[in-house]
């Protein structure tokens, strides 16, 4: 096998994947970052350096939208971290309980929203929360809480949180499954050893299982982060490209789409769109690096 001649078959095996990956993913990625350094002047592409980023961060017309979208995006992410992941972990803890009957059935049913498209999820919830149809108000009425009802998706102060919770509803299956897998891989002897020392029930979860599944919690956190910072579909499907009401649900994905494609009277601007993509890239890169170098390396010691 270790002959000095060139082994062409290796190149042949690698070629298709590397070619497609490089030309459709890596090259456009860098090309987008490059385009962010240009601007269209009199239908000609002119190099402007970091001018687009300066506009994006400091020109009041742009920066207001940008910081709004970024802030909304962080809130969107925070809701997922505080609601989706704890619920997912709790469900996984329940499901992983030995001798629980119908566990497979619950698992499959709870995962169903995850397989639906954003279009379905967005519209289904829009209809259910709609004051015209009245399913939500009449259900609240049944438990005596009708006064709490508001057209949540139409109110600036609630719309973003409502959408984040809809997204949580949709994706809770993913942390549930990953944590469930991690919990199943904990050796039975370890739990038995805990039982002998009197660590049972909830205490066993907090003291033995939770530290052991921390690496998986790290993974779901970074997946949530990356997923949320390039989210777009749900907001677009339910609120449109303008991310209404009054941009209160605008996140980086919708902001980039609007900028790059244009909407209503504003023309599309691929260069500013690229600049926003560059900002998204930087944010995701920082998150991933923080995870890889800050969190993951420190967690190793817990691993089995």
């Amino acid at each position: 096998m270790q002959k000095p001649r060139i082994r062409w078959h290796i190149a042949l095996f690698l070629a298709p994947a590397v070619l497609i990956y490089t030309s459709v993913m890596i090259f456009p990625l860098f090309n987008t970052l490059r385009l962010a350094l240009f601007q269209e002047v009199d239908q000609e592409r002119v190099y402007v350096g970091l001018e687009n980023f300066r506009t994006l961060f400091f020109d009041p017309i742009w920066s207001e939208q940008f910081w709004n979208a970024l802030g909304n995006n962080f809130w969107f992410f925070l809701v997922h971290m505080l609601v989706q992941n704890p619920i997912g972990i709790a469900l996984a803890a329940l499901l992983s309980h030995p001798r629980l009957r119908f566990a497979a059935l619950y698992r499959s049913a709870i995962f169903i929203p995850t397989i639906l498209s954003f279009v379905i999820v967005g519209f289904a919830w829009k209809l259910i929360l709609s004051p015209i149809w009245g399913i939500a108000p009449s259900m609240l009425d049944a438990v005596g809480l009708k006064s709490l009802f508001a057209p949540w998706l139409g109110k600036e102060e609630y719309a973003l949180t409502t959408l984040a919770l809809i997204s949580v509803w949709q994706f809770v299956g993913i942390p549930m499954m990953l944590i469930y897998a991690a919990l199943l891989s904990i050796p039975e002897e370890m739990l038995e050893a805990g039982e002998i020392d009197g660590v049972t029930g909830m205490a066993a979860f907090w003291k033995i299982k939770l530290p052991l599944i921390l690496p998986s919690i790290g993974i779901i956190s970074i997946l949530t982060f990356v997923g949320n910072f390039n989210a777009f579909d749900l907001i677009y499907a339910s609120q449109g490209a303008l991310a209404g009401p009054d941009f209160s649900t605008d996140i980086l994905g919708t902001f980039m789409y609007r900028t790059f494609f244009g909407f209503q009277l504003q023309l599309g601007d691929p260069h500013m769109g690229s600049a926003i993509a560059g900002a998204m890239f930087a944010i995701i890169l920082v998150g991933v690096c923080l995870y890889l170098f800050g969190i993951q390396t420190r967690m190793r010691r817990y691993q089995l």
Binding site: I20, F102, I112, L191, F260
Partner: protein
């Protein structure tokens, strides 16, 4: 834990919590499906009632059939999904084989390069992708979507498949080599059949995001004849917002194919996730 094992109150509480959450997960889907079969009046008057002889109506489905070309959308989604999955599996497996089987200079580097794409979303490069598709004339063709989804799916596919291929016995491959089989025959005839479960896992992981994607169909292939089911239903619903029968029926028709796929593949999907393929 041992106390919970024997305590019926605890068991009941666990089932209670799970049943409540299952209801929360299924309720919206259920409401959409039952109301799509009802008359407009009943949709508003009794939204939670099952359709009966009196309220049953297919008027929404008739509108959908007449106004939207859902069969074409479905066909487009199908072609894009199957095409992308085929390329992801074939090219991904080939690259994974090269990385896991041969020792060559730059192997590690190539592995890392291909793994970059696991964490970086391809959407960041959209502006340049669109520009490229326009200049190559692929815009508004299904090929544009297939290429993008293939590029997006390859990194994780290579990663998962090379993990599995390392477990294939060397003796088997070397026996093949002694018998004079070419490296390609070894790959296609000996290795690929042995990693079939891993191929299925990769396919199932990629299938749903590709089928459900809205971003790339919207940007790369918004033409009527290349609309996918996800984009088609989005546009249709946008136009028929006030026709509740049509909207509910369109939603149901978009839900059904995915639900059927899920019923067929859920065991594979869940086994794939829980077998630690995504560690």
């Amino acid at each position: 834990m041992s106390s919970a094992r024997s305590n019926p109150i605890n068991t009941a509480a666990m089932h209670g919590a799970l049943i409540i959450y299952t209801l929360i997960a299924l309720f919206p889907v259920f409401v959409i499906l039952i109301n799509s079969f009802k008359t407009r009046k009943k949709i508003f008057r009794e939204p939670l009632a099952l359709p009966d002889a009196d309220s049953f109506s297919l008027v929404g489905y008739q509108t959908v059939m007449k106004q939207g070309d859902f069969f074409l959308y479905f066909q487009n989604s199908f072609i894009v999904t199957v095409g992308s999955l085929t390329l992801i599996l074939l090219f991904g497996a080939m690259a994974a084989f090269a990385l896991s089987e041969y020792r060559f200079r730059g192997n590690m580097l190539m592995g890392l390069y291909l793994a970059l794409g696991i964490m970086i979303p391809i959407r960041i490069g959209t502006v340049a992708i669109l520009e490229m598709m326009v200049s190559t004339g692929l815009v508004n063709t299904l090929w544009a979507l297939i290429l993008v989804y293939t590029a997006q799916g390859l990194p994780l596919a290579v990663f998962i498949l090379s993990e599995f291929m390392r477990q294939v016995s060397d003796d088997l491959k070397n026996a093949g080599r002694i018998d004079g089989l070419s490296e390609f025959t070894i790959f296609f005839k000996l290795v690929l059949p042995l990693v079939r479960p891993a191929l299925a896992t990769v396919a199932v992981f990629n299938m749903i995001p590709i089928w459900n994607d809205l971003w790339f169909p919207l940007i790369l292939a918004p033409a009527e004849e290349t609309k996918t089911l996800t984009l088609g239903s989005q546009v249709f619903i946008g136009q028929f917002v006030t026709d509740w029968n049509a909207v509910l029926s369109a939603l149901s028709m978009a839900i059904l194919p995915v639900l059927i796929l899920y019923v067929i593949f859920s065991r594979q999907l869940i086994r794939g996730i829980t077998s630690g393929a995504v560690k």
